[in-house]
Symmetry: C2
Subunit: 330 residues, 2 copies
């Protein structure tokens, strides 16, 4: 049996701190959750797979939990937050692009009309992504994102976007990690748009983020190696792409998967098909007062087929209004 210095030091420190660890387990690890079926299902599942000696015991290395991001860890209304980022970038870059004043989808975005993106479909999304997310190095892009999340504010709540994360989900991530789960993001959002901030906000390191991507190219610039972001889609991590992204990045089937839209359905199906107990979570946006209420008819985060399948298969549906004491951190 190998033991390392850091572990030993940690052991001693923990010991010196006395019984706090033991006290902690008596505390409610999910204080922002009402004691309803959803919370009970989560706690029962985690207890079931972590109990040594039980026939459903899963070793820590296999405790993979995957979380969608938009509408699942942070809000996504009235538009995906990454679209607000793109619109802000369009405004910042507009002086260098006089042609955008008349060229769609840029002209509409510059007037603050985000609807143009839905009207323009994938072609519009592609134009916007390539104009705002490509052409710089990966380090430059990360700096732009970091600056934006530190300062940009949501149009209706006036909160910073990174303050519009869901407190109960932060607690769930912590609770799972406390139980030696490895928590991953598996999102349709841009992988390099998420990585600069998800470690400090969710406690999820960059190597545990799976997302959509554009291609990059390795170059030596004045002898300095850089990765340049190219205007070409590499991978779309949505719907049937999610199990593909999970396999590519993680190489192991999740034990628990958490999403909120039809874009997460294949991830939940893939998870459910694993051997032994698995937990599939669907967050249902039912709270028009504290957040937004939307499902089958929404163009953003539509939850229609997924809601039916969750009910048929007995997956756990989290009812935001009924199951959460608070939505955003105080």
């Amino acid at each position: 049996m190998k033991r390392s210095l850091p572990v030993t030091l940690f052991a001693i420190i923990t010991l010196l701190l006395g019984s706090h660890g033991v006290v902690a387990q008596q505390h409610d690890p999910l204080p922002s959750w009402n004691d309803t079926a959803a919370k009970q299902a989560i706690v029962a599942f985690v207890t079931q797979v972590t109990q040594e000696g039980s026939e459903d015991y899963v070793p820590p290395a296999e405790r993979i939990a995957t979380f969608d991001n938009d509408g699942n860890l942070w809000a996504e209304q009235p538009a995906y937050f990454q679209l607000f980022f793109a619109a802000d970038r369009i405004r910042a870059l507009a002086p260098q692009h006089p042609e955008w004043q008349t060229e769609e989808p840029f002209a509409a975005l510059l007037k603050g009309d985000l609807e143009v993106v839905h009207a323009g479909g994938m072609a519009a999304v592609n134009d916007i992504v390539m104009a705002t997310h490509a052409g710089m190095t990966t380090d430059e892009f990360a700096a732009i994102v970091r600056e934006w999340v530190a300062t940009a504010r949501h149009p209706t709540t006036d909160r910073r976007y990174i303050d519009m994360v869901y407190q109960p989900m932060l607690e769930l991530l912590d609770y799972l990690r406390m139980n030696e789960f490895k928590t991953f993001i598996v999102s349709g959002g841009g992988i390099e748009f998420m990585r600069p901030w998800v470690e400090s906000v969710y406690g999820i390191p960059p190597e545990q983020v799976v997302g959509s991507s554009i291609k990059t190219r390795f170059e030596l610039r004045d002898g300095q190696p850089v990765l340049v972001r190219l205007p070409e889609i590499d991978f779309v991590d949505d719907k049937a792409g999610k199990p593909v992204g999970i396999n590519s990045h993680i190489g192991r089937r999740p034990l628990l998967a958490s999403g909120n839209s039809d874009g997460d359905l294949q991830m939940l199906q893939y998870t459910a098909a694993g051997a032994g107990p698995r937990l599939m979570l669907y967050l249902h946006h039912t709270d028009a007062e504290r957040e937004w209420a939307y499902d089958r008819e929404s163009s953003i985060g539509r939850l229609d087929q997924g809601l039916d399948e969750a009910r048929t298969k007995g997956w756990t549906v989290i009812d935001m209004k009924a199951d959460w004491k608070v939505v955003f951190p105080e």
Copy 2:
């Protein structure tokens, strides 16, 4: 400060086991390494970046170490081991493919002539990979690989391939993890060819493997979700592809990178360009007696430009013959 039940239990167990942890640090963590410059450079670097309070201290989350696999963690002569796997698959599948008796590169492979692959170049490699690595589900492929590594034996040593790993590198991986490094494989080999066995052999979990890949597609087969391996190259994790693969999978620049061929040069350049101290390791195959001796002229694992750059830039070159007490595990 959060404390979890598992950590507390671990603390108590460590405590009960007494001072073993402290004793461990006095043991030589790299017993198969001679006390030469390479070992000294490794130990000095690890001490430097893990010493709290030092200006070169690097937090554990940023201690990323990337290792090439072929010729770096296991041997690669007289041909890449994955090619032996492919040749074995060709033989196993030949009864269903009578046309292979006359069609190249299959006919030559069936006669045991692996040279045909070098003669045929990328087209031959492509034909062989698609005939042997595609067309099944990811689970089926993993089972085929597991069966192969458990039984197949190297043509000249008669050892199992997974017993032809380098003992000093196993110790280096352990030593780094003991010092809270996260160890990754970054290999030109197939990502799904490595994942089924690297966890038990190297202690590296599937989510910390970066490699070359073919595309996969999510499908429901009789209602069961599967990922099908398609006959189409997705990503080649070699040369300039290595920093791209590192960025895609890890999203963080390595603190330490270890390779043995010109195919690793860009990974080492990318690592070296990071801020603060970094360790770049090149393993030089100098031991014709215990392993193989090859470098600038070899068609497999050629180390030419990399050797020059290592010397110019003061990277650490590991001389297998001089620096290692043993090569393979006893």
